[in-house]
Symmetry: C2
Subunit: 382 residues, 2 copies
C-alpha cells in the first residue's frame, strides 16, 4: 500500500503576498488553487446557473477570467447537485477547468424574501424554479457544495435584510458565527482542508463597527483558507460600505485572500482594494451587457444611443476584445436595436475584458507603487 | 494615368467544376468570389439582420462556414443600406471578411402577406419594424443591394404565393422575367460585372414543367455569374420539389453555380445535389438550435428530453465542435431547461458544424464516386 496522495490544504491552497502599495492597504498576490493560480486583485464573473451568461468558457479565458463563481442555491434547484456530480462535477459541467467558487445561498436568503423564513437551525425557502419548499442548513449547504465540487466553498451565513438595523445585525452576526462552527465541522467530515475544496468564512455586521469587529474576530478563530466580507452592497451607502471594509479587512489575516462579496462597480474596486481586499464577484459586466451598457476607457456607453448610428469607430479604442477589434459602434448599436443575441454576447466579452484589464492594471500599479495615480485617473474616466 | 484595376466579372467570379458523380448529376466545384473561394456543394448560414444568430463570426469560420447570406428586406428597414455603407459596407458591418450573398426580398414578398400588394412595377409592403409603407422595385432592390455591397446580389423576383396554381405561377414567371431584365439593366448602370458584385437570376415556375422550363430559359438569356432555383420549399411536397429541380437544373449552364433558395434539411440536400444543385441556404441549423433541437450522426436529438439528465456523453461522438468536445448532453440539457443563452449558442455551433460537415462529406463523395453510398448511409441516420 502506498500512502494516499493527500496534501494538506496549505499545499493545495495558498496565498502568496507579492507586493504592497506604499500609500494604501492595497496589495497584490497569487491565490493558488487545485485548478490554477489567481493573480490578485481579481474579479470573478458570475455563472449563476452553471454558465456565465452569453459567454463560451473558451472566451472567458480569452478575456482574462481566472476564477469564476457559481451559485449553490440555483444549482441545487436545477439541475441538482447529484446531477452535477453525475456529470463529472462542476468544472466539467461548466466546461471550465480553472478555479471555481460556489457561494452558499446566503445572499439568496437575503434577496428572495417571499416565502423565506430563518430560524436558528437553518432557512426554509421557496424554489424559484417550481415554488416547492426547500430547506437549507449549514450542514446541507456544505454537503451540496461538496457534491458540486468547486475549489472554494463559501460558508452558509446570515446576511441581514437591513444592514443599518443594529438588533438585526447583531442577531445575524451571532447566527453567522454559530453556522460557521457547523460549516467547519461538516467540512471536516468531508475531509476538511486535506481535500481539493477549501472553505471560506464570511464576516457580517452591517454598518456597525463593534459587530463587524466581533464577526471578523470570531470568523478568524477558525483557521480557514480565506475570508469574505459579506453584507455589503445590500442597501447601505458608499461611505458605509467603505467604513465596513475599513473595520473588517485589517482584522482578517494578512496571509489569506480577502473577498468582498457581490461587489460591483469600478469605483467600488478602488475603495475596497485600497482597504486590503483581493477578490470580487458581481453580475455587473454581463448584466449591463445584456442591457446594452458598456464600460469603456471613455466612460459608460449606452449602445442604443442614436449618436452611434453611423459611427464606424470601435466601442473602446483602448480595448483588445472581439467587440472592439471586429465591430464598429454602429454595428453594435444595430445589434442592440434589433435585440440580437450577438449584442449581449459581444458586450459581455467587452465588459468582462474591461473589468479584468482594470484588475490587471491595478495589480501592476500595486507593484510599481502607482496605485493612487491609477485610481485618480480611472475615477475621472468613469 | 494608370489603367484602373477593373477586371471583368469572369476574373472576379468564376466557377470551376472539379468533379462529377458517375451515377447522378451531383458535382463538386469551387465558386470563386472577390472575398474568397466557396468549395461546392456548400451551405450558407443565414444572417438575416446582419448576424447569424448567436454565433460570433470567428466561430462561423471555425465551424466551416465559407459564404453567408444576409437579408436585403430586413437590412433596408434597419439599419438601412446607407448606414451599412457608412459603416464600411456589409462585410465590415457583419465582421465577416468571407463571401456574402444578399437575397432580394422576393421571399419576404411571399412570406409577409399582410399589407403586401404586387403590381407590374414592384411591390408595396409594410415594414415589420415600424409598420411604415415600403416600396420595392427591381431597380430599388438592386440599388439597395449595391449599397450593402455583398459579393452576390440576387435579382428581385416574384415568388408566387401558391406554387400549384398555374395561372398565378405563369404570371409570376412572366413578371420575374421582366424584373430580371430591369435588374440586369440597373446592375449594369452600377458597373455590372466589372465590379465586385455579381448578379444571380432566379428561376420560378412552381410545380409546372413548362413554366419552370420557360423561366429557366429566359433567365439564362442573360449571361449571369450564377442562377438560383426559387419558389421551392414554399408549400409543395417533396416529390414536387424534386420534379421542379429535375426540370430547372439541367437548363442552367453547366459552368455556373446553381443555388436552391431557402433549402433546407439534410434529406433535401441529397435530393437537390443529385439533380445538379451547388448552393443552399436556410435558417434550419440556427433556428432548430434555439429550439433546442440538434442534428447528429445518430439522428435528431431534442435536448430538453429528460433522458439526457445525467448523461455525461457528448451530444454527437463524431463531431468536433465546441458543444460536443467541451460539454455533456447532461449540461446541454440543463442549459436548455434553464433557457440560458449558452444553449442556443452551443447548439447553433453544433448544427452548423453538422451541416457543413455533411457538405464536406458530400463533396468528397463526389470526388471519390461514392455519392450514392453516402446518401443511403446518411438518409438511414436521419
Amino acid at each position: 500500500m502506498t500512502t494516499p496522495l493527500l496534501h494538506s490544504a496549505r499545499e493545495r491552497f495558498s496565498f502568496d503576498l507579492q507586493a504592497r502599495d506604499p500609500h494604501t492597504r492595497a496589495r497584490a498576490g497569487i491565490f493558488r488553487t487545485p485548478h490554477g493560480d489567481v493573480p490578485t486583485p481579481a474579479f470573478m464573473p458570475v455563472g449563476t446557473r452553471g454558465t456565465v451568461k452569453g459567454v463560451l468558457p473558451r472566451d472567458l479565458r480569452a478575456v482574462g477570467s481566472t476564477m469564476i463563481l457559481a451559485n449553490t442555491y440555483h444549482l441545487h434547484l436545477r439541475p441538482g447537485e447529484f446531477v452535477v456530480r453525475a456529470l463529472g462535477g462542476l468544472h466539467r459541467f461548466m466546461g471550465w477547468d480553472g478555479p471555481i467558487l460556489t457561494d452558499s445561498g446566503g445572499y439568496q436568503v437575503f434577496s428572495i424574501k417571499e416565502g423565506t423564513t430563518i430560524d436558528d437551525d437553518g432557512v426554509s425557502m421557496r424554489s424559484v424554479v417550481d415554488g416547492a419548499n426547500v430547506r437549507f442548513t449549514p450542514e446541507s449547504v456544505i454537503d451540496i457544495e461538496r457534491k458540486l465540487g468547486a475549489d472554494v466553498a463559501m460558508a452558509f451565513d446570515h446576511c441581514p435584510s437591513n444592514p443599518t438595523d443594529e438588533r438585526e445585525c447583531a442577531s445575524a452576526v451571532e447566527r453567522t458565527r454559530r453556522w460557521l462552527d457547523r460549516c467547519v465541522a461538516r467540512h471536516r467530515t468531508h475531509g476538511g482542508e486535506a481535500t481539493d475544496q477549501a472553505l471560506f468564512g464570511i464576516v457580517q455586521g452591517g454598518v456597525f463597527e463593534h459587530l463587524r469587529r466581533l464577526s471578523a474576530e470570531t470568523a478568524v478563530e477558525h483557521d480557514l483558507v480565506g475570508y469574505a466580507v459579506g453584507g455589503v452592497s445590500v442597501g447601505e451607502d458608499r461611505e458605509q460600505m467603505r467604513a465596513a471594509i475599513d473595520i473588517a479587512a485589517p482584522l482578517l489575516p494578512e496571509d489569506k485572500p480577502r473577498y468582498l462579496m457581490g461587489v460591483g462597480m469600478p469605483e467600488d474596486f478602488f475603495d475596497a482594494i485600497e482597504r486590503g481586499i483581493d477578490l470580487f464577484d458581481c453580475v455587473t459586466p454581463t448584466r449591463h451587457a445584456r442591457n446594452h451598457n458598456a464600460f469603456t476607457a471613455q466612460g459608460r456607453v449606452n449602445l442604443r444611443n442614436s449618436a452611434w448610428r453611423e459611427d464606424p469607430s470601435p466601442l473602446d479604442t483602448t480595448c483588445d476584445c472581439t467587440a472592439c477589434t471586429q465591430f464598429s459602434r454602429g454595428t453594435l448599436r444595430h445589434l442592440c436595436q434589433s435585440n440580437e443575441m450577438l449584442a449581449g454576447m459581444l458586450l459581455s466579452l467587452h465588459n468582462l475584458r474591461y473589468f479584468h484589464r482594470l484588475m490587471i492594471d491595478i495589480r501592476a500599479a500595486v507593484f510599481t507603487g502607482t496605485f493612487t495615480e491609477l485610481r485618480e485617473r480611472t475615477l475621472r474616466s468613469l
